[in-house]
């Protein structure tokens, strides 16, 4: 990559979309609803597993204002899914989780649709439900998808070296068992949208999502239409975090508009959003780690089980990521990890910021710190001796992609922690006035892939139109990239302007229509800056070259960027080249633990990231700070409770998110720019990384403060107090 002059790269330019968002002018999906549209109301299953014996819609159809009641028989191809099309749009025979949909009521008003939905009579025969991932793997367990004959969605082994021998020779061997829970995306804007059939017989869906062209693909398949006959447009998107990657209602809007030939609208209540869209996977992780006396980690063995819920979503990929990261960001010669993704009758799980990495490294990072303690070694020193370096072999036996910055990231974190938290110095008494408040510091590292993995045909396409006589006058950049709130549109625009050597104002963006803008790929996996940015960069260069050569007023170029290829994991050994880029992170946190109530307050956070190159420093900091808020919630607060397949916390009053007062008073984002070989101007992704080390760093800090290890996420006050009581009970008994 060339590194030309950069007056726009790194600049903290204000976001053009912010103006409409601070004045109320920005239109989010629910703001598109107009008088005269038909309103949709879903009938949810509200039971974890049942056979539909009878479905009587006659009373609902006769209710005031009702235009239609759609059911499974109205869906041309009744299956969708990002990877496996295993989820019905409307269930016809069996419901597999409580958020499954059985009927779609279409009425003249929202109130009429809601009232009529209550009149849809469904007769169920309840089936035995399986709501625990381990139980789902047992012989004789109820089957979520009977036709598959098993609840096992994926088993992926990773084998490297000889763990049996390594454990036999290790000086220290530790075992651990960890569990993580669901996490709800809780984007502030609940799912909503409109759809209609336009004068060209195209079904147009205006909504929110993360990937225009993938939404289009699934909707077209469901309606059995050519993709060109489906137009997906994104309004302002009120957050996503992975939670809009699966279809939620987009296809149902399309179905109703297509069937009724009238504009339709739907807006989910928060509790509908909470039960119906996918979640972060709960994991159950059991592992064994071994190290030599000299502090060389020599062996990791782990079993990593993901509760995928009722439908496949992206469980297979999430589980592969978790399996890959079960040994963290350390070069360990002997590895034996088995990852399992399992169907249950719980809410389906899929993408959520971090995508399997936070769960796996909650276990791995705690194990590394415990190993260090067992060896009598500083946890940082143990990390330093084992952490990935340029050329290190991954668990999949291939060298890491170029640009390995795990060690400099860690070193910077330690440096900041020494300076700001006095890490490593003997601690004075915690809070002299309050002996029940104890303080501690924890450090953890993290790794997360940037972009799609495991042999996926990763691409991003952009088109650039240029206009100008002697000089470039303006540019139009076409790229179907979702700005879910992360600021992608400004980043892509900055890259275009910089590459073309023109002002930001001379670049206009076409981003939100699947019929106009080419496929950028998903706004997920921390990939849009690297992938979309590189496509824009390359298309801008190509267009500029054409424009210079042709001496015409206009020129255009379209470029499809492909990063270095990855490969599928070998089904026996997991061998392969899983990823083309990683992001590296390290964090130091200081906590205060109330030993009487178990409450943990994070006082200070240092979060260090190699972003390759910050395209917009303010936006990079915003990603780090915002991701840390979700990490605080994940580590300590957000307790998504499910019992027997029923979500017990479907409201914001029961599923608690961090408020402004719950944030650490001091957050120090530290941004390193060590240049990625593929990214535009050396940029790589950052959006997910702060979530990866945070929970284990907090666990280590709690241990530092009190001497107890937490192994369940979230680390709620009750769990902390239980751990403290258990320790005190033991010490009294001992």
């Amino acid at each position: 990559m060339s590194t030309p002059k950069t007056h726009l790269i790194g600049a903290s330019l204000p976001r053009p979309d912010a103006l409409g968002k601070v004045t109320g002018a920005a239109r989010y999906p629910a703001d598109l609803i107009r008088p005269g549209m038909l309103h949709l109301q879903l009938v949810f299953a509200q039971r974890p597993h049942a056979r539909i014996v009878a479905l009587d819609t006659s009373a609902a159809e006769g209710a005031p204002g009702v235009a239609a009641v759609l059911t499974a028989k109205d869906v041309p191809y009744n299956a969708h899914g990002l990877i496996d099309a295993d989820q019905p749009a409307l269930c016809g025979d069996v419901v597999r989780f409580e958020g499954d949909k059985v009927a779609l009521v279409v009425a003249e008003s929202k109130e009429q649709a809601e009232a009529a939905a209550k009149l849809v009579a469904v007769t169920y025969e309840d089936l035995p439900a399986v709501t625990d991932a381990r139980a789902a793997l047992a012989a004789g367990a109820p089957l979520v998808h009977a036709e598959l004959g098993t609840n096992l969605l994926l088993h992926i082994p990773i084998r490297k070296g000889d763990t049996a021998r390594a454990f036999a020779e290790a000086a220290v061997v530790l075992e651990g068992a960890f569990s993580t829970s669901w996490q709800e995306h809780a984007f502030l804007q609940p799912e909503a949208g409109i759809a209609y059939v336009d004068e060209q017989e195209r079904v147009v869906i205006e909504t929110a999502g993360q990937w225009l062209h993938e939404d289009r693909r699934q909707i077209a398949a469901m309606l059995q239409l050519p993709e060109e006959q489906v137009i997906v447009r994104y309004a302002a998107i009120g957050g996503a975090f992975g939670g809009r990657e699966d279809l939620s209602m987009q296809h149902l809007l399309a179905l109703a508009a297509w069937k009724l030939r009238r504009p339709v609208a739907m807006q989910w209540k928060r509790e509908e959003s909470m039960i119906a869209h996918h979640k972060r996977h709960p994991f159950d992780i059991r592992c064994r780690w071994g190290a030599t006396r000299e502090g060389r980690i020599t062996a990791v063995e782990a079993e990593v089980i993901a509760d995928g819920g009722a439908y496949a979503s992206t469980s297979v990929e999430v589980t592969k990521v978790a399996t890959l990261f079960a040994s963290g960001c350390y070069e360990i010669p002997n590895i034996s990890v088995d990852g399992y993704a399992v169907y249950t009758n719980n809410v389906p799980c899929g993408a959520f910021r971090g995508f399997g990495a936070p769960q796996a490294q909650f276990a791995a990072e705690i194990m590394v710190t415990r190993l260090a303690h067992a060896l009598g070694m500083d946890p940082v020193e143990l990390r330093r001796r084992n952490i990935y370096r340029e050329g290190s072999l991954e668990p999949t036996q291939q060298p890491l992609p170029e640009g390995v910055s795990a060690l400099p990231v860690l070193e910077r974190c330690v440096e900041e922690a020494r300076a700001r938290l006095r890490y490593g110095e003997p601690r004075e008494s915690d809070v002299p006035s309050a002996p029940h408040l104890r303080r501690g510091i924890g450090i953890a590292c993290g790794i997360k892939n940037v972009g799609y993995s495991f042999g996926y045909q990763e691409q991003s396409t952009a088109k650039v139109h240029l206009y100008g006589k002697a000089e470039l006058e303006r540019a139009v950049v076409l790229i179907g990239a979702a700005d879910v709130g992360q600021g992608a549109h400004l980043i892509l625009r900055q890259i275009a302007a910089e590459t073309l050597g023109i002002a930001l104002e001379q670049v206009s963006m076409v981003t939100d229509d699947s019929g106009e803008a080419p496929n950028a790929g998903s706004a997920s996996a921390s990939r849009m800056t690297l992938m979309g940015g590189r496509a824009v960069h390359d298309a801008a260069l190509a267009a500029r070259a054409k424009w210079s050569a042709a001496e015409e007023y206009e020129a255009e170029a379209e470029v499809q960027f492909h990063p270095p290829a990855t490969t599928p994991l070998d089904p026996m050994s997991g061998a392969g080249r899983p990823n083309y880029c990683y992001g590296y992170a390290a964090q130091a946190v200081e906590v205060e633990v109330n030993t009487l109530t178990g409450q943990v307050r994070v006082l200070r956070v240092i979060s260090v990231h190699d972003v390759g190159r910050a395209i917009n420093m303010q936006q990079v900091e915003g990603q780090i700070e915002g991701c840390l808020a979700q990490a605080v919630g994940y580590a300590l607060l957000e307790d998504f409770q499910v019992r027997d397949g029923h979500v017990l916390t479907p409201y914001f009053s029961t599923y608690l998110l961090p408020t402004a007062l719950d944030m650490p008073p001091e957050i120090v984002p530290v941004v390193l720019e060590l240049a990625d070989p593929n990214g535009p101007y050396g940029a790589r992704g950052v959006a997910e990384m702060p979530l990866v080390p945070f929970a284990p760093a907090v666990a280590a800090a709690i241990h530092d403060a009190t001497g107890v290890w937490l192994s369940q996420q979230p680390m709620t006050p009750e769990r902390v107090l239980a751990a403290l009581s258990a320790m005190n009970g033991q010490s009294t008994a001992g």
């Binding site: 709130g485 303010q618 007062l661 008073p665």
Partner: protein, 475 residues
């Protein structure tokens, strides 16, 4: 959610309506509980009787040693009342721990009592303070019920369907009395209590002469910890006594497991909270941490507004423009703004007052419009995000409120969905105090959830706007 909205202009009219509807209607004031219940189908009704026109019921005053709270006294009124802070600190502390500013400005203390959840924060302090309620009805006149006898069972009260709480009253704490309220919640704002306790102790010098200790979320109703109350009489509050009292409190509790915590966790933390409360009362530090000037997000104004009679068609002023909203009497203010007035800048994030995305100004208050019946805006004035720039003094089209400018400049906007509500709360804070500190800003915004930014740049933006406003004012 309801069909008929009645807004009586006098107490006599209100009582007459209650009698006529004979339990078929529900009384509404702040609406912060009633609207949540109605949206979930709890105690449904077709008719709401809004008593907020009875402005004579909005008072907190002390008269010859008695503190009196009218039925319309809000949590903010309790917090802002010097008499309440001096003479009923546990109550003021409980009011401060309820919800977020947008809730405290609307929610009445009487309403908190009537909702009757054992988790309602004002019940333990009022019970410990020995409160009694004046209940009125058209036929029965007025009767006095001690709060301790108000709750016969879980979530039930002795309030008759035709009755209204007119007043809550209790003796102000005397010089030899000290009290405290402590709450354990799962986050630092907007948390329903896991447990809460109130202590009111009467001393002879350093010896406890009388102790009243009440426990929330530790039994089907709020209860007295009788064992501990008896134990403490005649003792000095040394460390051993405080700890022992904490242990004994568990004997008085009969908690259950629920979403917020197990019975075991409640017992264990009860011991800690009682001991901690006693230590602080013994040390005289019960008021430590009480904010000198609490953030209220409302313009304190004692001048009473005359509400015009409501006859089914809402006539209101929104952003300085007169609106008639004929179809909105059965809606929330949020839905009326979005659907009837066509102002979609105000957002729905949760529809239960938890996220703040729907925050607007109604008259002098900063409210969550999802919990306001639209009819309460009748003859009033509403400011939404679309009118913020003008309200902030912007002269020209396209000019913004300084806080809007600051949000753009500081990078405080990501997805932006929370931003309209965040700005309405933040701008009211800057009206209330032009140079707020961190704690005041975070408190003011504690009712507004942002899932994108981590709040840091929002905090920066409020400081930046504050600097702009105060320096602009100086120049």
């Amino acid at each position: 959610m309801w069909r008929t909205y009645l807004r009586p202009a006098s107490m006599a009219e209100a009582l007459d309506l209650l009698r006529r509807y004979a339990g078929q209607a529900r009384v509404i004031a702040g609406g912060t509980d009633v609207l949540v219940e109605l949206s979930r189908g709890v105690r449904p009704t077709e008719t709401l009787i809004d008593i907020t026109a009875l402005t004579e019921l909005k008072y907190v005053r002390e008269e010859s040693g008695l503190i009196r709270l009218g039925a319309l006294a809000t949590h903010n009124d309790g917090i802002a009342s010097p008499a309440c802070v001096a003479g009923a600190l546990p109550l003021a502390q409980a009011c401060w721990e309820v919800g977020a500013p947008q809730i405290r400005t609307r929610a009445t203390i009487a309403g908190n009592l009537v909702t009757a959840s054992p988790a309602n924060d004002t019940i333990p302090p009022l019970m410990a303070l020995g409160a009694e309620l004046a209940l009125v009805s058209a036929e029965g006149g007025e009767r006095i019920v001690p709060l301790a006898e108000f709750y016969p069972a879980f979530r039930r009260t002795v309030l008759r369907p035709d009755e209204l709480i007119r007043e809550i009253r209790f003796p102000a704490l005397r010089e030899n009395q000290r009290g405290i309220f402590l709450k354990l919640g799962l986050r630092r704002a907007q948390a329903i209590s896991v447990i809460d306790i109130a202590l009111v102790l009467t001393f002879d010098g350093e010896v406890v002469r009388d102790a009243r200790i009440t426990l929330g979320c530790l039994a089907p109703t709020v209860i007295h910890a009788r064992t501990v109350e008896a134990y403490l009489v005649g003792r000095r509050l040394d460390e051993a006594v405080c700890a022992e009292a904490g242990r004994r409190a568990c004997d008085d509790a009969a908690p259950i497991d629920d979403l917020r915590g197990s019975a075991g966790y409640r017992r264990e933390t009860l011991a800690a909270l009682v001991a901690e409360g006693l230590r602080r009362v013994a040390a005289g530090t019960q008021a430590a941490g009480w904010p000198a000037t609490p953030v209220l997000l409302e313009t304190r104004d004692t001048s009473s507004t005359v509400a015009l009679p409501f006859a089914g068609v809402i006539a209101t002023t929104i952003n300085g423009t007169a609106y008639e909203l004929p179809g909105a009497a059965g809606k929330t203010l949020l839905n009326a703004l979005r659907e009837d007035a066509g102002l979609t800048g105000t957002k729905e994030g949760c529809a239960e007052g938890e996220c703040g995305a729907c925050t607007v100004w109604l008259n002098r208050q900063t409210v969550m419009s999802c919990l306001v019946p639209a009819a309460q805006a009748h003859s009033g004035s509403v400011t939404t995000i679309e009118g913020l720039a003008h309200a902030g003094g912007a002269a020209d089209e396209g000019d913004l409120h300084p806080l809007q400018d600051a949000f753009v400049a500081c990078g405080a906007v990501q997805c932006g969905f929370c931003i309209p509500g965040m700005l309405m709360a933040g701008a009211k804070l800057l009206d209330e105090r032009p140079a707020p500190n961190d704690e005041q800003i975070l408190t003011a915004l504690s009712g507004n959830i942002c899932r994108c930014t981590g709040y840091r740049k929002i905090l920066d933006a409020v400081h930046a706007a504050s600097a702009e406003i105060t320096e602009g004012g100086a120049a």
